[in-house]
């Protein structure tokens, strides 16, 4: 005999799974006056595996615009980046993107 699941539970689980795998979470790095520019470039290269040009572009975006979206990822990956970047002393948030 097969196992039946209540329809509501099934829907909720489906939504959770879809949400977990959707690359819809933005990792935002915010400007701060203390971290050095070359340090930020290094951190982007190390954590996000950016080439130097891309890392520099995002660092300048942070510097001039106050923030930069450095990645749009699944929730789990975004939280991982968030933790790594904050571990290096950067100011970071993770925000859900537009549906």
């Amino acid at each position: 005999m097969g196992i039946e699941t209540l329809p509501d539970t099934q829907e909720a689980t489906k939504e959770k799974v879809e949400n977990a795998f959707e690359k819809n979470w933005n990792v935002i790095v915010w400007n701060d006056p203390i971290n050095m520019m070359n340090y930020v470039v290094f951190v982007f290269m190390k954590v996000l595996a950016f080439p130097k040009e891309k890392a520099t572009k995002h660092m300048l975006e942070v510097h001039h615009n106050g923030k930069s979206c450095v990645a749009t990822e699944t929730r789990e990956k975004a939280e991982h980046y968030h933790q790594q970047l904050q571990g290096y002393g950067l100011t970071v948030t993770v925000e859900p993107g537009q549906e």
Partner: protein, 178 residues
């Protein structure tokens, strides 16, 4: 300070003042790293263990607590590099030779940067103070703020050298610089 750049390490020859400042910084970082995030002082918590990003990520209280615990583990992972650095300079008389191998440069650099962030938070140092370019403006700051800025500048210099070692963006041959 005299810097000896090698292929896989960088060595600093420190004066008495530089040694004292660095030893104090390293000891403070090591002490603070061992404090549980829930027990660390408010300003340090705001700088090192801010959960603002967890809120925007819609993490639950349990997820946030776990996330902060992992963040603390990241910092504790730098203790070995801090210990090796301290061992080299503690109770030594100048000139003190302090060498950082490439494999420990990342941990030490990040720890020194953490201390810069903490100094700035403790002494209310923001954009205005960081961008001061004249001695006249600088001398108007309260003495504790001036001392903190000097210390931050000194640490920035060390960080810059460690960054060069890590990025490999320098002459591969051994060199020295005053």
């Amino acid at each position: 300070m005299i810097i000896h750049r090698k292929t896989d390490s960088v060595a600093f020859s420190l004066s008495l003042l530089e040694k004292v400042v660095l030893e104090r910084a390293l000891s403070t970082i090591a002490r603070n790293y061992q404090v549980h995030p829930a027990e660390i002082d408010e300003r340090a918590a705001a700088v090192w263990y801010s959960s603002a990003g967890c809120r925007t990520a819609q993490m639950s209280a349990e997820e946030t607590a776990d996330w902060i615990k992992q963040l603390h583990s990241l910092r504790l992972g730098r203790m070995a590099a801090l210990g090796h650095a301290l061992d080299q300079i503690k109770e030594k008389t100048p000139p003190v030779l302090f060498e950082v191998p490439r494999e420990e440069a990342d941990a030490l650099m990040t720890a020194l940067n953490d201390h810069r962030l903490l100094l700035a938070a403790h002494h209310n140092i923001g954009e205005q103070e960081m961008n001061m370019r004249t001695l006249a403006a600088f001398s108007k700051l309260p003495p504790p703020q001036q001392t903190a800025l000097f210390e931050m500048e000194f640490l920035a210099y060390l960080i810059d050298e460690l960054l060069q070692l890590l990025s490999g963006e320098r002459d591969k041959t051994d060199s020295s610089q005053d």
